[in-house]
Subunit: 623 residues, 2 copies
Amino acid sequence: MSWLDLLLGRPLASDAERQQRIGPAAGVPIFGLDALSSAAYGPEAALTVLLPLGVTGLRFALPISLVIIVLLLLVYSSYRQTIAAYPGGGGAYTVAHQNLGAGAGLLAAAALMIDYVLNVAVGISAGVGALISALPSLQPHTLGLCLAILALLAIINLRGVREPGLAFMAPTYVFVACLMVVMVWGAFKALLASGHPHPVVPPPRPPDPREALSVWLLIKAFASGCTAMTGVEAVSNGVPAFREPVVPLARRTLTVIIVMLIGLLAGIAFLVVPLQIGATEPGQAGYESVLSQVTGAVAGKGLFYYVTITSIVLVLCLSANTSFADFPRVCRVVAQDGYLPYWFAMRGRRLVYASGMYVLTALSGALLLLFGGVTDRLIPLFAVGAFLAFTLSQAGMVAHWRKSAEHGAGFRQLVNGIGMIGTCLTLGVVLVAKFTAGAWLIVLVIPCLLMLMLAVRRHYRQIAKETLSPAPLELAQVSAPLVVVPLEQWDRTAKKALQLALSLSPEVHVLHIASDEECSTLPKQWHEFAEAPAQQCGLPGPKLVVLQSPYRMVVTPILQYVQELEQQHPDRSIAVVVPELIEPHWYYAFLHNQRAKVLKALLLLREHHRIVIVTVPWYLESE
Amino acid sequence: MSWLDLLLGRPLASDAERQQRIGPAAGVPIFGLDALSSAAYGPEAALTVLLPLGVTGLRFALPISLVIIVLLLLVYSSYRQTIAAYPGGGGAYTVAHQNLGAGAGLLAAAALMIDYVLNVAVGISAGVGALISALPSLQPHTLGLCLAILALLAIINLRGVREPGLAFMAPTYVFVACLMVVMVWGAFKALLASGHPHPVVPPPRPPDPREALSVWLLIKAFASGCTAMTGVEAVSNGVPAFREPVVPLARRTLTVIIVMLIGLLAGIAFLVVPLQIGATEPGQAGYESVLSQVTGAVAGKGLFYYVTITSIVLVLCLSANTSFADFPRVCRVVAQDGYLPYWFAMRGRRLVYASGMYVLTALSGALLLLFGGVTDRLIPLFAVGAFLAFTLSQAGMVAHWRKSAEHGAGFRQLVNGIGMIGTCLTLGVVLVAKFTAGAWLIVLVIPCLLMLMLAVRRHYRQIAKETLSPAPLELAQVSAPLVVVPLEQWDRTAKKALQLALSLSPEVHVLHIASDEECSTLPKQWHEFAEAPAQQCGLPGPKLVVLQSPYRMVVTPILQYVQELEQQHPDRSIAVVVPELIEPHWYYAFLHNQRAKVLKALLLLREHHRIVIVTVPWYLESE
């Protein structure tokens, strides 16, 4: 059992794919962590924007949350239909590609891919941030912790489809259960106290108002709160991961996730007003997250509080898992259409799309390194990708229903149309509100990614055009090739190369570079060592060609000779036989001049269409 | 004319070597800059050690300098004889190797190689240091200036043997001339004033004594002053660079260098006492170098002063040139004996040993980068290598004369014996005095280098043992190889590979990996596209072997098949024909899975002694 088997598990045979599929119980932790963790930061983000309004700001928490919940329901109904209509997965990319054309599909794919890379960096960094605010002594290890969690996520996901479901089930359900208890308990207390409950641990007093109410502020609060919606698309991208019956199970998973998320969002919005809980200034002394305040106010800071907070930190850290579930699957679907390198569509040793996971790990790891594990500045970039994908997905579904003759298609078109308008408006709001804070970067990156994908496709087409040939072999001119063997001296490597050359063709040209500094012995030995034995076997003796090289070049004269030979024999292929010493260790490379490798590389680069290269290895015995 | 021709000059033919040789006028700047620049820092180093004695310390400057000059004369006479006895160059290495055995030779070579690398770093950094103390605004560019000078030296030396002689002639002779004028003028003034000349610009008052006189302090001053002797060996290492008559010209060059050096050392030692000039505390406000004080005191700080100081700075910067002249030559001689990679002995485009220059530039550049261009801490390491080489060289000459029957051999043996004892004692003093300051590092590095050189030689011997074969070709079993062609699909690349395979041998096995995910069309097309056309031409149809791969491996099943084939046919060679797509740009590599390269690399690594690899390139037309 190798260390790779130990780390990633033994390879799985291709026919084991069915046993790897999952149901809703594992589907929620695999696809839902991004969405559910949003409950921890979405409302907080909106309340932070409302901070300058003081106590007055809290009045707007409930209406903003309600608008977000309505939007969420529209998007949910759209993705429910997408799952049924496109059970092959790929979500927004597939819907937009099929109904609106390749451009729209690629736009959605680019948006999703960027969104997923950012989600990994931001999710892990937010989780580690929460951990550090609980245990400040970990501060110097921020980046190390981030990278360790990234590595853990990558390894668990590389182990197969089912593994993250099993590994992350406990924290996910503990998180949801704890928060649900807080919500219900809090609501019960509020009802009992006729809307004025007494907090167990009183939250910090909201600051005095510093700004007047403005529509712009409310719009910004809404745009920030919309981060709560990211991750809703996750299930639609990975439908083929579910076991039979695929569509109902995937839909049920999505429904469970959305019901939980709406419960949490509504609960938080409903509790902050009576408990008078606002955001606290982030990054300053006395900062406490909204969920921590709510839990403390409802249940006090006992054992239950610490279990809840621990589960929140874990879920934040693990929210990146959704990206690991979806990024490789989106890349796979796009690669199958030829817009990304085709190895994205190849299954790895555990039947997952391992290449996509490597690329995701590398890109998000680079972001974490670049920002030292503190990715606050990336958060504004985050919602743009998601809402662009939402909008394109809804628009695609509108087009889908328009073409459909199915019963109820008109009503569904209406629902998706409203959803499209809603998410499109939200996209506009988010873009305008966050443009200067960094969203402009997305506006630059997406077209670049788009052009890259189109170039990839163009290149693959070009290759296909040049190489495809549905015609039989032409064998009119099959004759043995002309063989060229460059030799430096007479030794066992030379003999092996020459034996092989004579077995390939009767016409062998041996090239020898005359060196001024030492007089070379090869020409003197030639007749006795090479010509005579060949003639005894009835073969024409190999021809020795001594090349002069006044400028001490070795490779160039060989290249020139081969080129002349190619021109003189327009109907022959030419095999250059290169003897190569294979050393037992890589560092012995410094002891040789690597002429064989240079010669081979240059022969390949020069576009000699009729030249093939024959490597004849000679193995040194290991010392 | 390419940019390389412009930078380094057009390639020189091997027979142009004679015209590249030099005489004494160019030999002094090429081989003498290290020795001559010593006059600028040797006396200063000794006086700095004497600083704690105050004015009393100056009394010892003259005796210490006299001892150093006597030692210098002994070493000079030794190297004069070495030049005549070993006109092939290689200096201490050759002498020790021939007379004392390979171990002593390699010890001398290792000492010299380390010495030369340190000399480049320390020389350039000292020159830039002097420049910066004159123009403090250059301080932030220290490292950049060091690397720029290193690059300049490397380029000028790569341009050929003569180039540095021409380029550095002016600064060298201006430096010597100016300092000679100072010495003679100062001596004249001192005589006129009966030993108590009045300085034009009075030097700073020597500090009050802080320490009592001790033998240990004098020994340390002597050890520091001995740095003035480094570079004396330079000519002996590069004798073959001189034109005919080689030995007299090389000797004359050495004599000129030594006469100039002794003149400068004696002049400085003679002038500091009457002018009351001591060292100033380095790195502190009011620091002024000894040569600057002497020049100012004798000639005032006018135009002449600035010309002199500029030439000193230039010569310090260029003192590294001696390393560029000698390091490649020492490496070449050692490489010719098989103790270093043989490419050290190959001449580059301008007939110099370019590889040695690249290695020297890389190593000393790394030192400069590591120390940020301030290499003060390396200075203690510096003299150890030189004196170890001196001692071994003298010891070798003693052994040489002992064996010689030449007239006067006895007297010469005595001179070299005294020289050996002197330099050996000095080596001991330097080692003890500077051990804790860093000389211990040399004691560690030299054995490592020694072991490395012995390992290189052992490896080359092993290769020779395994490959040398002064016997004719054996051709008993020349039969066409078995040919294996792995194919993924039917396209032009496959057709080209198959055509070539059929031209090499009638027995062709085509390997195809069955993929579960898509049903492959190759087996269905096989008869029509491949077998039928081959049979029509009278060839046996190539055999299609479909390999199952439940774990989606592609390369492993091919390797296994080839291995089995090799075992089944113990008397055949097997040619694996690999079709390879050659892309016009390197970055297209990301779009392919590089299976051809992986397959070829693994085939070579597995030590299949009877397998050869045939690369059949397919060129995409440039877009």
